[in-house]
């Protein structure tokens, strides 16, 4: 079971935002998308999650066109964490995370349990009763992460589950960056397909099973991080001279600029 982008193109007000993108997000695997600003990473996420309709091509979720899934069934399989949150109403952290349980009918007691566990997982238990509007950027992002985790906390009857994250670590300190990657790995081990946009090439190299490099609305390279990350590719895509080394412990590629 997969989430599949089949030859997607997206034109918007005279611009080619995406050109002939084909991408398969496998359940149980972590797919990381990297690329320069404006390369089309966020546009792809919008198409993958149904926020934008592609000009050509089709997105399939578990072998069925995305638009054909009833909204509620889809919400039980696909959770999305946007880059920025618009929320400016004083919900408590508990209430924000509980919003992730809206698509489910598991009952108040079970939901409260899941909310507490999700907050604990992202190291935000201490925020439970605090107001969202009074939290720091990193705290808000952790609470939002807990919300999407709560949404796919239990397996769905409708098919494999997927989690889409747009720069989930942008506001995090080192320890929370690592925590996020650990959570993502745990989810993948449970069978969830994770796709995320990252800016830090080393973070991406460390956690991705499939690394996708975007450039100018198309895919410049994709595959295992060791094969994809080369000095010539980084020079070509980012215009930066870099040395590719190897992480002494994880043996993953290490980009040094």
């Amino acid at each position: 079971m997969t989430m599949l982008a089949d030859n997607i193109s997206l034109h918007l007000s005279g611009f080619d935002l995406l050109r002939n993108i084909s991408l398969e997000v496998e359940a149980g695997k972590v797919t990381a998308i990297v690329g320069p600003n404006g390369a089309g990473k966020s546009s792809l996420l919008k198409v993958l999650t149904g926020d934008m309709v592609p000009t050509r091509g089709q997105v399939q979720l578990n072998h069925r066109p995305l638009a054909h899934w009833p909204l509620l069934d889809r919400a039980q399989m696909l959770a999305v964490l946007p880059q920025h949150s618009l929320l400016n109403f004083p919900f408590t952290a508990n209430e924000v995370v509980a919003l992730g349980r809206i698509p489910h009918q598991t009952g108040v007691i079970k939901d409260a349990e899941i909310v507490a566990q999700a907050l604990d997982l992202v190291d935000a238990s201490y925020l439970q009763k605090r107001l969202y509007t009074q939290m720091s950027g990193g705290e808000k992002q952790r609470v939002q992460l807990a919300r999407v985790l709560a949404q796919i906390w239990q397996p769905s009857d409708h098919g494999e589950q997927f989690l889409v994250l747009d720069e989930p670590t942008s506001a995090f300190d080192l320890s929370h960056q690592k925590l996020t990657l650990d959570i993502v790995r745990q989810l993948a081990n449970r069978g969830v397909g994770v796709v995320m946009v990252l800016h830090d090439l080393n973070l991406a190299a460390r956690c991705a099973d499939n690394l996708v490099v975007f450039d100018g609305g198309g895919i410049a390279a994709q595959g295992q991080p060791e094969q994809v990350l080369t000095e010539s590719l980084i020079a070509k895509v980012f215009g930066v001279k870099a040395i590719i080394s190897q992480h002494p412990r994880t043996n993953r590629p290490l980009v040094i600029t």
Binding site: D51, R74, P82, F89, P90, I102, P103, R130, Q134
Partner: protein, 339 residues
């Protein structure tokens, strides 16, 4: 941290409202003792005159205040959620400005008829206001709706544009009206509950009931919408449907309330705002608590409107703004201190 739990606020308001109603029944130009009032309400009236004052004048007026207050405050809470803006109020969708043009138009063009009588007990002005309000809302909604859905931002801007247009039309109508019409127009715009009758109470009550039955269905959707529209969609909410339904219900509720009681300002803005400060933005509690608080405030404001300049009366709308505005400012100042 919050000051009240939702449950305790709702309990307090549920106790407070009947007390306020009882006090409002006994005070006025003619003072009535509480025991007389209770006896009359329970059907064992001793004094016919007291019975008439209570059952034909004060009670319908108080019920009207309850229903109008509940409708304005609950639709205010819903609109603030839908627009994700704590400063939104029901007038944003154009319903009040449209209603005011409709009412003025009726006063100016059909002035003669109004004196002579009513249309099935409801004045032409009320019908004009309702039609005007509903038309303006539909216009604002259509302007903001395209193939990809209804844009909340466009709707806000369209609402402002329609309000400006309506303001101009209103001025134009005022310019061409004589002294008597001018006075009627401005009195109508101040909002007044004094013309309450049992027919009006019936219509307003049905509208309030409809809203309070329908809103809870969408309260979780409103909670999700506070995250943003695409986030709500990812939580399985049919955003376009919810928007349509809530705007329609609001136009209906506020349209009827404006038609029957004129422009009672401020209740739709400050009540939900204050209730949210006290118990938080969860619409499952916010909407019913706002309805209760709006009803209570309007009964208090209307009672004061009846007694401050005895034997005359003030328009209710003046009192809601006079009471509401300073209270709101104090709240804002306090909030600024807290942050």
């Amino acid at each position: 941290m919050r000051r009240f739990s939702a449950r305790s606020l709702i309990t307090v308001l549920t106790v407070l409202l009947p007390v306020v109603v009882l006090v409002s029944l006994v005070i006025g130009t003619v003072n009535i003792t509480i025991s007389d009032a209770l006896n009359t309400l329970l059907g064992s009236a001793t004094n016919q005159q007291i019975g008439t004052i209570l059952l034909d004048i004060r009670l319908p007026r108080i019920l009207m205040a309850i229903f109008v207050g509940a409708v304005l405050a609950s639709t205010g809470a819903v609109m603030q959620g839908l627009f994700r803006n704590p400063l939104a109020d029901p007038s944003l969708i154009g319903v009040s400005s449209g209603a005011s043009v409709g009412a003025s138009l009726m006063i100016v063009t059909a002035g003669g008829f109004i004196q002579s009588g009513a249309l099935v007990g409801l004045s032409l002005v009320a019908v004009g206001a309702f039609v005007g309000g509903f038309t303006a809302t539909l216009l604002v909604y259509r302007l903001a709706t395209s193939g990809i859905g209804t844009s909340v931002t466009t709707m806000l801007l369209a609402g402002i544009a329609i309000a400006a247009l309506a303001g101009a039309l209103n001025s134009l109508l005022s310019y061409f009206s004589d002294n008597d019409m001018l006075r009627q127009i401005s009195l109508w715009q101040m909002g007044n509950l004094s013309g309450a009758s049992w027919l009006k109470v019936g219509i307003m009550g049905s509208a309030a009931l409809l809203l309070l039955i329908c809103f809870p269905r969408d309260s979780r959707a409103l909670n999700a919408l506070l995250l943003g529209e695409s986030e709500a969609r990812h939580l399985g909410i049919d955003v376009q449907r919810v928007k349509q339904r809530l705007i329609l219900l609001t136009a209906l509720g506020v349209g009827i309330s404006v038609a029957l009681a004129g422009l009672v300002g401020f209740v739709g803005l400050i009540i939900p705002h204050m209730v949210r400060l006290a118990i938080g933005p969860d619409h499952r509690w916010l909407v019913p608590a706002s309805a209760l608080a709006g009803a209570t405030l309007l009964v208090i404001a209307d009672s004061l409107a009846r007694i401050v300049v005895i034997p005359a009366e003030l328009p209710t709308g003046i009192l809601t703004a006079l009471l509401g505005a300073p209270f709101f400012v104090v709240l804002l100042l306090q909030q600024r201190k807290d942050v």
